[in-house]
Symmetry: C2
Subunit: 472 residues, 2 copies
Amino acid sequence: METKTLLYENIAADIAQQISQKTLRMGDKLPSLREICERYRVSQTTALQAYYQLEAKSLVESRPRSGYFVCGQASRTLPLPTVSAPGPAGGNAAHELISRVYGDMGRGGAVPLSMGVPALELLPVAKLNKGLVQASRTLPGSGLEYEQVQGNENLRRQLARFYGTSGQALTSNDIVVASGCMEALSLSLMAVTRRGDTLAVESPVYFGILQLAQSLGLNVVELPTHPQTGVEIDALKKVLTSGKIHACLLVSNFNNPLGSCMPDTHKQEVVRLIQHYGIPLIEDDIYGEVYFGSRRPRSCRSFDDSGLVMWCSSVSKTLAPGYRIGWVAPGRFKAQVLRLKLYHTITGATITQQVIAQFLETGRYAHHLRGMRQVLHANSLRYAGAIGDYFPEGTRVSRPGGGFMLWVELDPGVDTAVLYDLAMRQQISIAPGSMFSLQNQFTNCLRLSYGMPWNTTIGDSLKRLGRLIAAL
Amino acid sequence: METKTLLYENIAADIAQQISQKTLRMGDKLPSLREICERYRVSQTTALQAYYQLEAKSLVESRPRSGYFVCGQASRTLPLPTVSAPGPAGGNAAHELISRVYGDMGRGGAVPLSMGVPALELLPVAKLNKGLVQASRTLPGSGLEYEQVQGNENLRRQLARFYGTSGQALTSNDIVVASGCMEALSLSLMAVTRRGDTLAVESPVYFGILQLAQSLGLNVVELPTHPQTGVEIDALKKVLTSGKIHACLLVSNFNNPLGSCMPDTHKQEVVRLIQHYGIPLIEDDIYGEVYFGSRRPRSCRSFDDSGLVMWCSSVSKTLAPGYRIGWVAPGRFKAQVLRLKLYHTITGATITQQVIAQFLETGRYAHHLRGMRQVLHANSLRYAGAIGDYFPEGTRVSRPGGGFMLWVELDPGVDTAVLYDLAMRQQISIAPGSMFSLQNQFTNCLRLSYGMPWNTTIGDSLKRLGRLIAAL
């Protein structure tokens, strides 16, 4: 296995060098797979792996029935977005704008760059359908009976097996299955806060978190957040020291919309701080599996031994949004979470839990994720490259190491709520930045999803978006 | 069709007369289906219908491979339970007892007379499994994509078609799909109440409602309730007049555990009262389809034109508990309910919604319900008969016109929490009465489910239960 890895990496490195030295130029056809096999005396699989790696780095592209070609490279690398500087607590969620953006979505066939889920083409539809039939045969009562309140036992065991390897100790008994990550967050928040309490979050932050917190009557303190390393530790320390915070909710890995991923040292420091102040941390790790580096980033929970971290995730962003399978490892708050789940929804659908359990058990999930990461990594470079090519001077863009969102910061004079309307007239749907704060921040920012496989329509949409921005 | 109906009814009436005149006696074998066909010159279907009707009335019973026999009739008819007389608001849910009863359930193969769902044998497992495969083929994205927040459009349309006929006007747009009736109740309560508000409910009342209300920080006023006609109107009027009630939650039809069903005049009066005081009524109509009379009882909502009634129901008690399909028609509170659903769970599983939509669309649900009602009606008479035969003097029992629960009131000296432990040692699980109140009422009552098809084990369990009670 190791020799093979080196082989295909050597091949990829050779070709990458030829591209950087301009021996191979944009549009040049690359050697066929057969030629690579002969030249390097390797198997077709190895040759293919080399090209996959080059593709993931956006250096080459495959054209159906024609082979591999050298890609156009981005003409320039844009600077990162600035670190956010939110004010003190207060403000209101941009309900109207959010409803407009998601009410419009899919309508009239607009290119959904605003969407929060990966495209269906990236999901293993046929395999999950087979799993559905199998689950209806395996389950006693074919899934018509109530599942345990805590969730399908096999699912919890498989989750513990799968996630217990990323540096954290996890048993099936630690996990409570929920109806997507959103119910996991909702149960966690209800378990540890009361109306009038104050919650600390990143800024920008997923608008659903803001809406949920406000509907529970919580005050929200938005914290300055770095586009690569996440929440600013000093700022977090300061609010915790103030004694006015009752809980934190952080998206530790590949935060939506910013794409930031807290380094291990930051995670350790966050855990040390919440332990010191005895404040629960709800960790939203929904994007953790969509990493582009060599290994999965760790969770804050993996550094915690106090039970104060409530670790939430789901398969909604990677496998089956409509199955509504998420979970929380609620630490010392498990009894409260279980009670709330029982009282509010009893339990989730039985059969979809079983399908996901089987998908994990057979190793299909790990396999699926490997392919999905490759595509999304290539997409991220591709989309960012197009933004570099087409967006005007002064544009800043995130460089996420995972997830499927780009955060774009434009000239302060550009109002992305206005841009939204102009873009929709051209059938392009974007997510304006002000949706991601209660404080009317980020009015010159937007979130773009690269969850759709690249094609000319997308390239063209980004080009037109760039023109619209320039005109503003 | 009409001639046929009369035919089988005539046959059934003939035999019923022979039984009442003692021409046919307990244990006698009835004519075979072929004999009936020849004697009355009817089809086998008609003969079978006649026997089904007699079976539903508990006059005859079929024995596998032996034919039909005259049943034993209950030796006496027991009086109804007394009308409850709860005190003012206060008290706590019997959490510990509830956890014990439901934690024990199914363990060690106890006969689950405490269970809150019909037995799997009563559910159309194979048909729903076929529906699952069909749904995965029909749905765009095979159900992997998010469903609308309001719920599957076809499901809402089919629900409107199905329920729009029971005297109420209902469109697909009036309905919000929820994860079972429990989420429907939870969303409704969250939409119209705040922590510290007061909720009026029946007494006894399903413990899940008490737990939900308490977890939302609501005070609960339990109202005197008649075992046949439901909440006492005068008592409701009195608390509404006091001005201290912020919402009502009533189980209008075949209340769990009491089996009461409000007459139309009471429903009209309840609606008039809540309209007069401007108080929302959350109507839990989860058992409405399980009626034993000639037609479905109406909902309170069908008498309302103000939008104050939030009508909740589900298919969890009749079709597929594990599918988690419920709904609410939230009237004037629809926007709030939709927002809360979006914030807390986004939406439910996509595919199970589609399966139920198809099941309704093809008329399979109506067909299934007809058969299920027959069985449950027969069960209710059978179980009540056995209680009459085996339980000691002083026992009172409800005579529900639907649902699948019997409410049994014993001598005031009997503590059913003690009985629970004794019965569990004999592998019989019952639901003690004090679970159904916050006020430590009903300590001499118990709820028995007749959701399981009758067999000798059940007969024997009821006999042993009777002996245990007598010994106490």
